[in-house]
């Protein structure tokens, strides 16, 4: 017989998950649009690009292949994060549909943790590549290779690792729940 407090907890999980799956959809849209917005809406991007390895003015001065290749490179971490958020979105959709103790949403959570780690590790590399691409047309001695690392990256790596460990623990919870269900 279901415990009333457990039913209430699951009801709350469903409600919060419904809200969060919409929040994830908005975040995915943001991740996909952030780089094009930096290029095509310069005023908007002043705050969000404070950690960029080269200035916005330098980016906007680019033309031809340099512009598109730099844009593509800058989009890599955003697309990795968008994929992670898509998996997180799928997890919340499953939770909202009461698919909780099931391997499927747990795999989505694990994929999100991996995407978070990958994005954090890729970011300094793409940042360095962006600086090289953006200053490639300059004469020798003025070209720049800029690598940006901050405490935020360390925190995100920690968070990604934490999410993966939580996903493993939840995987065990799923196994125990399945075992419990096979008892009468």
């Amino acid at each position: 017989m279901p415990n009333p407090s457990t039913s209430n907890t699951f009801k709350r999980v469903r409600m919060v998950s419904t809200l969060l799956h919409w929040a994830c959809a908005v975040a995915i849209l943001f991740q996909i649009c952030v780089v094009p917005l930096i290029w095509y809406a310069p005023g908007w991007a002043e705050v969000s690009t404070s950690q960029m390895t080269i200035s916005l003015a330098e980016l906007h001065a680019l033309s031809g292949w340099q512009k598109y290749v730099t844009m593509a490179v800058m989009m890599i971490p955003s697309l990795v994060m968008a994929y992670g958020l898509y998996r997180l979105h799928k997890m919340f959709v499953a939770f909202a549909r009461d698919v909780i103790f099931n391997p499927e949403p747990i795999l989505h959570l694990k994929a999100f943790g991996i995407a978070l780690l990958a994005q954090t590790l890729i970011k300094p590399v793409t940042g360095a590549l962006t600086s090289v691409l953006a200053t490639f047309h300059r004469p020798e001695g003025e070209r720049v290779l800029s690598i940006g690392l901050s405490n935020a990256e360390a925190s995100t790596l920690f968070l990604g690792g934490l999410i993966i460990v939580i996903a493993w623990v939840l995987g065990e919870a799923v196994r125990i729940d399945a075992e419990n269900r096979s008892f009468v």
Binding site: M1, E179, S182, F183, V184
Partner: protein, 68 residues
């Protein structure tokens, strides 16, 4: 499996239908059927006690260990 469930024998002895027992102990007919056929991984003490109470028997009357 080494544990044999003798619930069908006990039901026949007590002339009780599975459906009636399932409703009295508060489990589904499907679960009771799985228990009868030994296709479950375990039985809760709570379920075992309820069956024993309804059939007026001991756990040993329902379960038997068979040496492989």
């Amino acid at each position: 499996m080494a544990i044999i469930v003798r619930l069908d024998v006990m039901l026949a002895t007590r002339k009780m239908k599975s459906k009636d027992l399932a409703s009295k102990i508060g489990i589904s007919e499907q679960n009771l059927s799985l228990l009868k056929s030994g296709k479950v991984r375990g039985v809760r003490f709570e379920t075992l006690a309820a069956i024993c109470k309804e059939l007026d028997c001991q756990p040993g009357d329902l379960l038997e260990f068979e040496k492989p």
